[in-house]
Amino acid sequence: MVDPLVAERIHADINANDVVLYMKGTPVFPQCGFSAKAVNILNMLGVKFKGVDILADPSLRQGIKDFSDWPTIPQLYIKGEFVGGCDIMRDMLQSGELQKTLAAKGVAFEASSRVG
């Protein structure tokens, strides 16, 4: 069960921001390699996003895992919808599915970005 207050905060964040990354550390100073990779992917695509540092809040650290039913951090939300963790972001970037998802949801990004 997710604490209702924590769930309310998550709802507010993912509804007020097109793209939200729940992560360890901040986009400028990620505290974990997986979170850093997720930030890199979003930066590479030029996507504006809100980073939420779950290390700064113990209730959120467990709360986001229960909320998404996903055991790991980082976690990406686009337009209020859970997309996945850093491995899924990597796979979706390589297949172009991440770009398609952003476009389909009307989120601005740099379409010319290519991964070698």
Partner: protein, 79 residues
């Protein structure tokens, strides 16, 4: 007790009997692994669900959670 590569492979195959599993110990510290899993059970399922199947397989009560596991899932061609 941290999980060994063999533990991870065994748990995944228990849940997905057809799975071809390749585990890499990324740092040789028994705590950071990459798992490459090929199974026909992933067919037609979104990536999120494929990864959840792997997480579920590894969520065994009494075992310490892995510190870091990178997952790659591949849909096996059905014969």
């Amino acid at each position: 007790m941290p999980m060994t590569a063999e533990d991870i492979e065994r748990l995944i195959v228990q849940a997905l009997p057809d799975a071809k599993v390749k585990i890499t110990d990324l740092r040789g510290d028994g705590d950071h692994y990459a798992a490459h899993i090929e199974s026909a059970a992933f067919a037609g399922k979104p990536l999120v669900q494929q990864h959840r199947m792997v997480y579920d397989a590894l969520a065994v009560p009494g075992t310490a959670p892995l510190h870091a596991l990178s997952i790659t899932t591949v849909v096996a061609n059905q014969a």
